[in-house]
């Protein structure tokens, strides 16, 4: 069997056999479980979910997360959490997110007083 002759001297030095078919397919979980990553860009800011990484342990998840989501600009902190430790509600309950249409009474903009004050003043001055 011939080995790969590459433009890349590192590849040539590896002595890779060209048609080696002996590799066993990867098995499920060879690439570990996943962790969700939360990134804080500056002190005082929020930790924001930015994505996930595959890792064999929380320590490795942290290293991969730092490399994957913190290699540019600034980072002040990263959290990693096992994906399987995140709790949410299944889609069979998606109707719980449906909102009542009228919830204006919870909004600041709902409470308008100025026109009533003006009317009150007008009435008061007229009398």
């Amino acid at each position: 069997m011939s080995t790969i002759k590459s433009l890349d001297p590192r590849v040539t030095r590896f002595n890779i056999e060209e048609d080696d078919q002996s590799m066993q397919p990867l098995e499920r979980r060879d690439y570990f479980e996943t962790y969700e990553v939360f990134h804080q860009a500056k002190r005082g800011g929020r930790h924001t979910h930015v994505g996930s990484v595959h890792a064999p342990s929380p320590e490795m998840a942290f290293l991969f997360a730092k490399e994957q989501y913190g290699r540019r600009s600034t980072s002040t902190s990263i959290w990693v959490v096992r994906t399987s430790d995140i709790h949410t509600v299944g889609d069979e309950h998606s109707d719980m997110w449906e909102n009542v249409p009228e919830k204006q009474y919870r909004e600041a903009g709902f409470y308008k007083v100025r026109s009533r004050i003006e009317q009150f003043k007008k009435r008061h001055n007229d009398s």
Partner: protein, 328 residues
């Protein structure tokens, strides 16, 4: 970097389209309203299947695309360029991680995708089956292949599948560094000595056919394609993306007094579309099916990384496992 054009699978012959019509109507109404689809939402069988193929190919392209450029890290001219090229190649590998994660949300595991890449079942962008012969090749790749990738990825980032859009948003931000870095490297050679211009022109001549191939063959309108457009899996025709690329970059190439190896290349002032000689689509098919100058090397390198890294993954898998003395 690198999505490439849309090359979808033909619809499965043996699969009966048995999507629930009520759910399908709800799904299509959601897309028509401009809403995004999240992983646990109901989706048509064909939507899931074609998205897995699209995102997986994109991920493989990032990881294989790191190889031709990576060739030059050890021989980059100067420390600043070495740092920049290493950073770019690291970005590409990072993009693959983001995209594999997005594809995984559709139900195909990371391991299955890597197996399919190594066995040759899954494809990646055809341009990476060509060699990067000189330093100028890395400049042309970083500028023009990444430019093509940006056209493709910005288009795809308006698609309907939310995890893919989120990955692309992050990727596009990083690609803008690649593009400017590549343009800088090309301009450095183009404004340099005659020898520098010559090596650049040579690289451009060799990369032009793969660049024209990059967006994929002209798509013939098909019922299948219309459905994928309606579902916002496919966001533009391959030819439209190619036109957009030519419109943005040919003038910049000509401005540097470089030439392109196509005597018919011109913008028709009436139609405002670019005319060109169709690239050799038979070669494209041949190379995509394994018969290109670097196919074997690319997959062999990937396979070797997987095999020779196995012991590291195994060692990491159970760091707490310790030797125990037999009980009796």
């Amino acid at each position: 970097m690198y999505g490439g054009g849309y090359i979808f699978d033909k619809p499965l012959q043996d699969h009966k389209d048995d999507d629930d019509p009520v759910k399908l109507a709800e799904f299509e109404a959601r897309i028509d309203r401009g809403e995004k689809v999240e992983p646990h939402d109901w989706m048509p069988f064909e939507y899931r299947r074609q998205l897995i193929r699209l995102i997986e190919q994109h991920a493989h392209s990032e990881i294989i695309g790191a190889l031709p450029e990576g060739t030059w890290i050890t021989r980059a001219p100067g420390f600043r360029r070495k740092l920049a090229l290493a950073a770019k190649v690291q970005d590409e590998v990072g993009h693959a991680q983001l995209l594999y994660n997005a594809a995984e949300t559709l139900g195909k595991s990371r391991e299955e995708m890597i197996n399919d890449l190594i066995s040759g079942k899954s494809k990646y962008s055809n341009v990476f089956n060509y060699p990067a012969k000189t330093w100028a090749d890395t400049a042309v790749i970083a500028w023009l292949i990444d430019a093509g990738a940006i056209v493709n990825q910005v288009t795809n980032s308006k698609g309907s599948y939310a995890p893919y859009c989120r990955a692309l948003e992050r990727i596009c931000q990083e690609e803008s560094f690649h593009l400017k870095y590549g343009y800088d490297a090309v301009v450095h050679l183009a404004t340099g000595t005659p020898a520098q211009r010559e090596v650049l022109q040579d690289a451009l001549n060799r990369w032009w056919p793969p660049i024209m191939h990059f967006f994929g063959p002209p798509d013939n309108a098909s019922v299948h394609g219309e459905k994928l457009m309606r579902w916002k899996v496919k966001m533009a025709s391959n030819d439209d993306m190619r036109q957009q690329f030519l419109n943005m970059y040919v003038p910049k190439i000509w401005e540097l007094e470089l030439t392109l190896p196509d005597p018919n290349l011109r913008k028709n002032p009436e139609t405002r579309r670019w005319e060109y000689t169709e690239p050799d689509w038979d070669e494209f098919k041949r190379v995509i099916n394994g018969d290109g100058p670097c196919n074997k090397e690319r997959l062999a390198v990937r396979r070797t990384a997987e095999e020779r890294g196995k012991w590291v993954r195994e060692a990491l898998l159970r760091p707490e496992t310790q030797y125990s003395v037999p009980l009796s």
